[in-house]
């Protein structure tokens, strides 16, 4: 049903339709509205979940870990510092192969403390073993949660999924969203049937100590499942299209006018909406530019990126996060997709923008295209304020 709603509310609606049994989260801006809405739904009797109002994010993640281990569909949401506080539990959940679904309302990381959007939080947990998909708008944010449960609970996968949506921009933005109806959700998402669970009828021990004789195979298995998930994403996208009509292709990337492009920008998340406007304007003027939007950051779709960009002479990667002391996170993956290959861009320049919620405007995107020259640049920060950089500390 189409509604003009705040992103957070739309997320709450889809989670309600997925009918989790245990919900546990700790408040952190800008995730708060999602969990508040869910709590109200439970209080009104619209959703029969157990809501556990914990005393920290570490416990929120632990509660959903326990709930999932006991064989129940679960949900949590967090951002920024909260995600970092639950980091060891996040790795634990993936290692224990539990199909937890989490919303990460992307927000910048302290210090300095900043509540506005960038993608540093979820990007910093890219090694955890969670599948990570990034939404461009609120329709995707809603649809991706439904897809997330379907994917996580697939018996061939059994890995947790993090749905990333830019904080404030999407969570607090009002858009027209088609929230899937319950009967269609039931068609697409079967009841959760756990592959293993804590049950007195059939006792098992979970979370054992694995010495050097066993640990590697467990980790290798997750890596293999990640690789296989590249295909499962396409498969599930196809199922989604047949039930709901919306086509996310392979759920790995979106190629926006990249076919004959001279310059392509690679980016992730809501900034792609702004970039698409610039692409449209430039194309209207005859300039051959395009956008490659990354949807699945983990597993990273190296082969798809190669196919999409192998004939593009110049590529600009715009990261909304930074790996201090090294090349930016998405840029590194893009470059890796081409190393040692016969074809590829002559220039892959890396730009960093939008940190701490600094707006990426149409002007910013024009600036990226301007700076995408024959000379490759790395981790080039855009939209800096030079007058701030003039201040010296301790003088």
């Amino acid at each position: 049903m189409k509604e003009f709603v705040e992103g957070s509310h739309a997320i709450a609606e889809i989670i309600k339709a997925c009918q989790p049994g245990v919900i546990s989260a700790y408040p952190i801006t800008p995730q708060t509205h999602i969990v508040e809405d869910l709590a109200q739904m439970v209080s009104n009797g619209e959703l029969s979940a157990q809501v556990v109002n914990v005393e920290s994010e570490h416990s929120a993640a632990s509660v959903v870990l326990g709930g999932s281990a006991a064989g129940v569909r679960v949900y949590t949401a967090t951002s920024s510092q909260g995600l970092f506080y639950m980091q060891e539990v996040v790795f634990n959940i993936a290692g224990m192969r539990l199909p937890v679904v989490m919303t990460c309302a992307n927000r910048a990381i302290s210090a300095p403390i900043n509540i506005w959007n960038d993608q540093q939080d979820s990007i910093s947990l890219r090694d955890a073993g969670w599948i990570q998909i990034y939404a461009e708008d609120n329709q995707e944010a809603v649809d991706f949660h439904l897809i997330a449960y379907r994917l996580a609970e697939d018996k061939r996968v059994m890995l947790p999924v993090m749905v990333c949506m830019d904080g404030f921009i999407l969570t607090h933005g009002m858009e027209t969203v088609d929230v899937p109806e319950q009967d269609k959700v039931n068609k697409f998402l079967p009841k959760y049937n756990p592959l293993y669970k804590l049950d007195t009828a059939e006792p098992i021990s979970m979370g054992l100590l694995a010495d050097p004789d066993y640990y590697m195979e467990a980790r290798f298995a997750i890596q293999e499942t990640m690789k296989e998930s590249i295909d499962y994403l396409s498969e599930i996208s196809g199922e989604f299209k047949s039930v709901f009509g919306r086509d996310y292709k392979d759920l790995l990337v979106e190629e926006y006018q990249t076919k004959d492009a001279d310059k392509v920008i690679v980016a992730m998340g809501s900034v792609c909406g702004t970039i698409k406007e610039v692409i449209d304007e430039q194309r209207a003027k005859g300039k051959k530019v395009g956008l490659l939007r990354i949807i699945s950051f983990r597993p990273f779709p190296y082969a798809r990126v190669y196919e999409a960009l192998k004939d593009v002479p110049r590529v600009a990667v715009l990261d909304k996060s930074v790996s201090l002391g090294a090349y930016a996170p998405i840029a590194v993956e893009i470059k890796a997709a081409f190393y040692g290959k016969k074809k590829g861009p002559k220039v892959i320049s890396s730009f960093v923008g939008g940190l701490g919620g600094r707006d990426i405007t149409l002007e910013s995107v024009y600036e990226v295209l301007r700076r995408l020259t024959a000379k490759e640049v790395n981790s080039d920060f855009i939209d800096l304020k030079p007058e701030l950089l003039k201040e010296e500390y301790g003088k």
Partner: protein, 90 residues
């Protein structure tokens, strides 16, 4: 999919910790036992079993020789004897 290393108890036989005994092993005299079951209760390995008086025995596959059964027996019907290089009995 190689899974998350979950284990069912029926698939686990346990380590043969009886090989840890170097100093001594319990010797159940089976003379004055009153079947109080304190030896069963106190064994850290849970490897003492028995039903009626003078039927209690240790599974030497697991006994580590801690000596607590001998300490707790109210009738002093259990003594600790040297291990003598004997291996597990079964």
């Amino acid at each position: 999919m190689f899974g998350p290393l979950n284990v069912k108890p029926k698939d686990s036989k346990g380590d043969k910790t009886g090989s840890w005994r170097t100093q001594g092993r319990p010797n159940y005299l089976h003379k004055n036992c009153i079947a109080c079951r304190m030896c069963v209760l106190i064994c850290p390995e849970g490897c003492v079993s028995g039903k009626e008086k003078n039927t209690f025995a240790v599974d030497f596959n697991f006994c580590k020789g801690c000596g607590l059964c001998a300490e707790i027996c109210p009738k002093k019907d259990i003594t600790m004897v040297p291990e003598d290089g004997r291996s597990e009995e079964k």
